[in-house]
């Protein structure tokens, strides 16, 4: 017996997963069908027939569903029924998750490769994010950070971070917009600070005005910020410094010695300065102290003070800069080209590249480059996912077909696959948090910071999840769109073929991955080659075994000649020289004008200058191109100078000999005689061309002693040097640095970059291999039958391996061809940073290509060999 109600119930059930039909709609449709059936029955038709006709007459179900879908959202809004729609979505989600998990379990290997690849990508981004947010935060902890500016002097030659002493006072006087101003000064000769027997050379010893604590937010743990820096000889120190000298005792009111001669009174203890500050003082002394412990000239004539101002609320810096446009003209003279610039303090760390910075700053371009590398690696990881997902589409095709048959429309399938990629991406996120923790020490070593992964930090959580969501979206987009396109009929009949289009895309994705790896590899190799070149370069002087010892104590300075003689008695000491200014690897004094007698003003050359004694040239091993060095005859050679070859050339002489005995004008009017010409040597890094340098004799205030010692028994020799030293200067500790370390430090940034690029290359290669491994496995799987047949027909294992790997290795070849010119262009640009650089050789490129090829071969061959060794009987037996 035909049961109408049962039939109708069954008919209604078919609408169950069609969420575009509300319950009301189904009720309406049921009513309609019943009415129609009843009418047909009334016409004399049997009930079953009538019902079936009524169903037919409803129309094409696909069309109907499409029409209902068009109205769906409008109806939802009209009914304010979004909640119900959302709940519907959620129940589908349960199903998607179930299927995703099942898939994961069935194909653990592929799932692992996917998750691992994504995790590596996300980890790189997390680490770079960590680094970035630290860099961006510099100097923002000050209360007035958004109104705080450093005063720069922009001149024709360069812009200077430091200004003259009077600038701060004049600004406060002349402009009411300036709320507070302070000067900061750090002496180029770091002072010896001593407390009874403990003494250290403090190179973060600053002088500042009493408004220091009004401008900067460095909280005082002890002492009053209003008065701590008022009186001369008062000093504030950080808690770590206090602990170093005083242990747990209270340092307030105690006295410390400055350079053995002056007494400073401690008027405050301040909190340690956070690492995210562009300057990090350990000691801050009151500015009135400065003329009492050093030359008065500093304050009157030298441009060595860092001036900071805080503007009043609501005053835009540009307005003040405009008003102060003629500031320097009023003080230097109407012809002065100097201009006043206000630099926001928060921009100093990343964007300031002016002359005379307190500390070497970072560069925002590093941040951009690192971000680019991070994104690149992430992209490669997403490409991996896409490749694997679409390669294995045959497996998912049946499922897609079934779903479509059951009535799912394309949008639902797309959503399902997105859900899967998001799910995997979140899994990868979990994995990468662990990975990031592991790799944190490496990051800290690379950047010289002390970063930590604080999971509680809101931004990190938000950033990580946001990242995972984006990755899931990007990685999932292609597979979702590709897999949802399948036609159920074709797929279920088993007629699935991997489309040409898809295969071509997969190949190009592999090429992109490996090309990126090759570019990074070449980059790494070139950077290391350049650094090697730099290290091995003839610098024009001998860096080996030269110890540099700073001298502060005036006693030692007075008797340094005797000290040197004592040292020379040791057979392990080869030579000792002194400088009163600088030595190679450190910045040299610049701005000294030299011109030939009778030459005009524009023929004057601005050059570097160093003040050295007679043994300096010999100790460093500098060679003379003409004439001789200083002999030590102080009076006779009082006006003698040495020039380097670059200086000679700049002054217009054709040969070094031509300059001998000639007179030059140093500065405005000092007449000097050229005693000798030194061969050019790299007193700056190889980033710069060798520039003109003038050496003048000085014997009475050596700041650094250079001691060349024999390479044997270095520690013993150092001990002997120390013992002698202590006889001369019981107060000052014996500190030393090696000249080759100082020189090496010039290239520290480059070395770090080399490391970063190296790691990036490693990561890119790793991810590329993961992908290749998966693809190779899949390809081998696809061709199981083919391999079986070939083997049965007598193919050799070697031949089969070659067959299965050939395709992939060819792709790597293409990748190399693509990568080489790109790498060349990039590295050529980088090498232009160096005035003295290597030529890139084809061997380097070849090596990178071979490395990539080797890695690919190893990756692919595992699968290929496994497939080739499989028993053909087994592979041909099953469908």
């Amino acid at each position: 017996m035909f049961d109408l109600d049962k039939a109708i119930a069954s008919w209604r059930r078919s609408f169950r997963y069609r969420r575009v039909f509300f319950e009301d709609d189904l009720e309406e449709l049921e009513r309609h069908v019943r009415d129609h059936t009843a009418w047909l029955v009334g016409q004399g038709r049997p009930e079953k027939e009538a019902f079936q006709e009524a169903l037919r007459k409803v129309g094409d179900y696909a069309v109907m569903e499409a029409e209902y879908r068009k109205v769906f959202w409008a109806k939802t809004k009209h009914r304010r029924n979004l909640l119900r729609a959302f709940v519907g979505e959620m129940s589908m989600l349960k199903n998607y998750v179930k299927v995703a998990l099942r898939n994961l379990q069935k194909h653990k290997g592929y799932a692992f490769i996917n998750v691992a690849g994504l995790a590596v990508g996300i980890t790189s981004c997390l680490l770079i994010l960590l680094y970035g947010q630290d860099e961006v935060r510099y100097d923002r902890f000050h209360a007035h950070a958004d109104r705080m500016y450093r005063v720069l002097e922009a001149n024709t030659a360069e812009t200077n971070a430091s200004s003259m002493f009077f600038v701060a006072d004049r600004l406060v006087e002349a402009y009411p917009e300036v709320q507070a101003a302070t000067r900061l000064f750090r002496h180029w000769e770091a002072p010896l600070i001593a407390l009874e027997q403990t003494g250290y050379i403090e190179d973060q010893f600053f002088f500042a005005d009493s408004a220091f604590f009004d401008v900067f937010s460095f909280p005082l743990l002890r002492g009053d910020p209003e008065t701590a820096l008022d009186a001369p000889f008062s000093v504030v120190l950080t808690e770590t410094a206090a602990r170093q000298y005083f242990g747990d005792a209270d340092p307030m009111g105690r006295t410390m010695r400055y350079n053995t001669r002056h007494e400073l009174r401690i008027t405050g203890v301040m909190q340690d300065v956070p690492s995210q500050s562009h300057f990090r003082p350990d000691f801050v002394a009151a500015m009135p102290t400065l003329p009492l412990v050093s030359y008065a000239r500093i304050q009157e004539q030298w441009k060595v003070f860092y001036t900071y101002v805080v503007l009043r609320e609501g005053v835009p810096a540009d307005d003040l800069a405009q008003k102060a446009e003629d500031f320097y003209r009023r003080h230097y003279g109407p012809d002065s080209p100097a201009r006043l610039l206000l630099q926001p303090v928060t921009e100093i760390h990343l964007r300031s590249q002016v002359a005379n910075e307190i500390e070497a700053n970072s560069d925002v371009r590093y941040l951009y480059l690192l971000s680019a590398i991070g994104l690149l690696i992430l992209l490669i990881a997403c490409i991996n996912y896409m490749n694997l997902a679409t390669a294995r589409s045959a497996h998912r095709a049946r499922e897609v077909g079934m779903r479509k048959m059951a009535g799912a429309y394309r949008g639902q399938i797309v959503r399902q696959f997105f859900g899967e990629s998001l799910f995997l991406s979140l899994l990868a996120l979990l994995l990468s948090v662990g990975l990031a923790r592991l790799l944190l020490p490496v990051l800290n070593q690379l950047t010289g910071k002390a970063l930590s992964l604080d999971l509680g930090a809101g931004w990190l959580l938000a950033g990580g999840i946001g990242l995972a969501l984006w990755v899931g979206l990007i990685a999932g987009v292609y597979p979702a769109l590709f897999l949802s396109r399948f036609h159920p009929a074709e797929v279920l009949k088993g007629q699935f073929r991997s489309s040409r289009h898809g295969r071509w895309l997969r190949k190009s994705l592999v090429v992109v991955q490996f090309a990126t790896s090759v570019v990074l590899l070449i980059g790494t190799l070139v950077v290391y080659q350049q650094l090697d070149y730099v290290r091995a370069s003839k610098l024009g002087f001998d860096t080996e075994q030269v110890v540099v010892i700073p001298v502060q104590d005036p006693e030692v300075r007075r008797h340094y000649a005797t000290l040197c003689e004592e040292w020379l008695r040791n057979p392990e000491v080869v030579a000792v020289g002194a400088t009163s200014s600088s030595y190679p690897g450190r910045s040299h004094s610049f701005g000294h004008t030299v011109k030939r007698v009778g030459a005009s003003e524009d023929e004057a050359v601005v050059m570097y200058r160093n003040w050295v004694d007679s043994s300096f040239v010999g100790t460093l091993g500098l060679e003379l191109a003409a004439g001789r060095g200083f002999s030590g005859a102080r009076e006779a050679e009082e006006t003698a100078v040495l020039l380097n070859e670059a200086a000679v050339q700049a002054l217009g002489w054709t040969a070094p000999e031509a300059a001998l005995g000639e007179t030059v004008l140093l500065g405005a009017s000092e007449e000097r005689m050229v005693l000798g010409v030194v061969k050019d040597f790299h007193f700056k890094s190889l980033h710069h061309r060798i520039e003109p340098l003038i050496l003048t004799p000085q014997y009475h205030t050596p700041t650094n002693l250079l001691v060349r010692i024999r390479p044997r028994e270095v520690p013993r020799t150092l001990n002997t040097l120390q013992a002698t030293w202590e006889r001369f200067s019981p107060g000052q500790p014996f500190t030393y640095t090696f000249l080759d370390d100082t020189v090496e430090a010039l290239y520290r940034a480059d070395a770090r970059w080399g490391q970063v690029v190296g790691y990036a290359a490693l990561l890119a290669l790793l991810i590329g291999c993961l992908g290749l491994f998966g693809l190779a496995a899949f390809s081998a799987e696809q061709r199981t039958k083919e391999v079986g047949v070939r083997k049965a027909l007598g193919a050799s294992v070697f031949g089969l391996v070659a067959l299965l790997s050939g395709d992939f290795l060819r792709l790597v070849g293409v990748a190399f061809v693509v990568a080489a010119p790109v790498a060349y262009a990039i590295m050529h640009h980088w090498l232009e940073n160096f005035a003295y650089r290597i030529e890139m050789s084809w061997q380097t490129f070849l090596m990178a290509g071979l490395i990539a090829l080797l890695v690919a071969v190893v990756t692919v061959s595992y699968q290929a060999i496994k497939a080739a060794l499989a028993d053909p009987v087994k592979s041909l037996r099953y469908e």
């Binding site: 449709l29 009513r31 309609h32 109907m64 029409e67 068009k70």
Partner: protein
Amino acid sequence: MISKALVAASLKPIILSLLAHGEAYGYEILQRIENLSDGKLQWTAGTMYPVLHRLETKGLITAHWRPSETGPRRKYYRLTSKGSRVLEVEKRQWLDVHAVLLKLWGPELSFA
């Protein structure tokens, strides 16, 4: 068979006009149109109901349920005042078009 486009274009004015004569439920509307057009206009439930629903969201018609003697209740639709204003506009437009066509087809016009 009347072309799809014409059927689709006429759905709205026909429904509104029909409801102007009084309220009706879905199946009823379908039947009446079939009768009125002598079978030339045969709408399907699948296409008609979505249109009704859309008109409802636009506020041109309202709906309410009435219990029926047997089985599920019926959803009755009724024209609103906004709907009748819109109907007037539609009517004007159709008549304008119609007038042009009449002029063009002139004396050859015959109702077969």
